[in-house]
């Protein structure tokens, strides 16, 4: 019922992401918002705090692009392949003029932070961190006393990003958003954030969303912009639409090891293209075709019933 919020990626980022913001581009291996990350690089945002469980290639690229001064995370790597060189060089001190502050948790800690943010709680309690060095490395991980026993467990503080960017299979123009496959913490980060950008493979009529309300993870109520950008999650994947482009992840390894190579890559694939459509055209139809699922795997339909 909300007013349409459809915007171009350029306008959405220009309007909603500001220098100094805390930005969370979430999506756990699935639905990673690469195209939004690239637009943030193109618009040369600075001094961002980037939050994300698994920084992945998208934050390696953004940090190489100079947009961030701080990283909040729980697992830092190119999953199944290797390291993230741009980030490591800034942490390990090889590149000294672009320091990168770290705030480190475990996966459940990050999920708990977003959940506390979404629920407006002052903390989220969890059983992690005992007898580890994580609370020493990060003093924001603190013990909390149970009011029911002398049991002490740990807590993490709420994380309320200024902006959450969520990729999804489909949304209505009002921003009612549906996802299937891995959900990660897309819902939690969206409810925790002050501003929300949803990027979708497909824009659908309100009635499509309403035909299966249990699949809605984010209501338009909390969405500020809906960007229609098919393949916006490449080289990550979208369940049912395209596969992870593993070649890209493998190819990234030599690029990320060399600061010049990564800057050249950004020149070519980010600064050198106007938008995601141009990026995909450059990637080519053959590569895209090779990433399509090998066959359909339909969910089947269930009946909600009409009750008049």
């Amino acid at each position: 019922m909300t007013a349409p919020k459809v915007a171009s990626m350029r306008d959405a980022i220009a309007d909603l992401v500001r220098d100094g913001d805390t930005v969370a581009i979430e999506g756990f291996t699935h639905l990673i918002g690469f195209s939004a990350g690239h637009e943030i690089i193109r618009q040369r945002r600075r001094d961002l705090t980037l939050a994300r469980l698994t920084p992945d290639l998208v934050y390696d690229q953004m940090i190489a692009g100079g947009v961030a001064s701080k990283l909040i995370f729980s697992w830092l790597g190119n999953p199944g392949v290797g390291g993230l060189g741009a980030i490591r060089r800034r942490i390990e001190g090889e590149i000294r003029d672009q320091p990168l502050a770290l705030e480190e948790y475990s996966h459940f800690g990050m999920v708990g932070r977003y959940t506390a943010g979404a629920m407006n709680l002052p903390f989220f309690p969890l059983r992690s961190y005992f007898e580890t060095d994580l609370p020493v490395a990060n003093p924001l991980i603190r013990p909390v006393e149970s009011p029911y026993s002398d049991e002490r467990i740990y807590a993490v503080p709420p994380l309320k990003p200024d902006v959450a960017i969520v990729h999804a299979q489909r949304a209505s123009a009002a921003g009612d958003t549906q996802v299937w496959g891995l959900l990660g913490c897309q819902k939690e980060v969206a409810f925790a954030a002050d501003r929300v950008i949803v990027v979708v493979e497909e824009l659908v009529e309100d009635e499509v969303v309403r035909s299966d309300p249990n699949r809605t993870i984010i209501p338009g109520l909390i969405v500020d912009a809906v960007v229609l950008e098919p393949w916006g999650a490449h080289p990550s994947y979208v369940q049912g639409a395209y596969d992870r482009d593993n070649r890209f992840y493998l190819d990234w390894d030599p690029i990320t090891r060399d600061e010049d190579a990564i800057q050249a890559w950004l020149e070519e694939w980010v600064y050198g293209v106007a938008d995601r459509a141009e990026y995909m055209a450059k990637l080519g139809a053959e590569r895209m075709a090779s990433l399509r699922p090998s066959a359909a795997a339909p969910s089947g339909s269930v009946d909600y019933g009409a009750y008049r």
Partner: protein, 262 residues
């Protein structure tokens, strides 16, 4: 103001219509069981067509094609925007601060809008056991503002409630504002009470004030059914009677069985 013999509508119908009108301009409303349910459904069909109805059962953006029989009903699910677990509904939507108006009923209310829906008499040995909080205590704390709809009587508008289920303006606005601020409450508390006799708002000091008298109701009638000396607005208004359109919706579409309007 005199009592007319047959105004063409019941006191309950006037109450529901007045409550629905109060929702004009509101965006997201948490719908309670009973009278709030019919009032909010009427509002969506009249003054607030873009009202998003949230049901504690786990529905956002309900579009019921009939009046839901209770706060959980298959008709609030089919065609809705989102169906979520109650953990998410209460955690992300309500406690997360997305609800503009929480709409509550009450068994007892005091001059500061504090509400009892738990027991009449002593808690351990009650004269009457009422339903309890349900979601009311958290709605009163977390919804940006609270609307109350209830029939009034000396038993329901009382000097002192027997149990505080849902906090209103506590002992007065000064105390309530301090506690709400210090405790980080999102809600500002009760802003309007609609009964079968009139419409009440709250003075700056947090005390209830009669603002509008329904057709057929009298100041004496109001005073007889309130357990404290009620304040009356300097410019006491007369509630416009239900329109033919409002009555038709209530009688033909929303409550053809007359469950709420008898």
């Amino acid at each position: 103001m005199t009592v007319t013999s047959d105004p063409g509508f019941s006191r309950s119908e006037m109450m529901i219509v007045a409550a629905a009108r109060a929702l004009e301009g509101q965006h997201v409303c948490f719908v309670g069981v009973g009278l709030p349910n019919i009032a909010v459904n009427l509002a969506q069909r009249t003054v607030a067509p873009s009202l998003e109805m949230v049901y504690e059962a786990g529905v956002f953006g309900a579009r019921p094609s009939r009046l839901p029989l209770s706060i959980g009903d298959p008709t609030i699910v089919t065609g809705s925007t989102a169906v979520v677990s109650m953990l998410e509904l209460f955690g992300y939507y309500l406690q997360g601060g997305l609800i503009d108006v929480g709409f509550l009923g009450a068994a007892q209310i005091d001059r500061f809008g504090n509400i009892n829906t738990t027991v009449i008499g002593d808690y351990e040995h009650p004269r009457t056991r009422l339903p309890g909080s349900g979601g009311a205590c958290e709605i009163a704390i977390n919804a940006r503002q609270v609307f109350v709809i209830m029939r009034q009587s000396k038993r329901s508008f009382v000097e002192s409630i027997d149990f505080r289920t849902s906090p209103g303006n506590l002992g007065g606005a000064e105390q309530a504002e301090r506690i709400r601020r210090e405790g980080g409450w999102l809600g500002r508390g009760p802003s309007i009470v609609v009964t079968d006799l009139g419409i009440y708002r709250f003075d700056d000091d947090g005390e209830m004030r009669l603002d509008s008298l329904h057709p057929g109701a009298t100041l004496d009638g109001v005073r007889e059914t309130i357990g404290w000396e009620i304040r009356v607005a300097d410019s006491l208004a007369a509630t416009p009677p239900p329109s033919a359109g409002e009555l038709r919706l209530v009688r033909e579409e929303l409550d053809p069985g007359g469950v709420y309007t008898r």
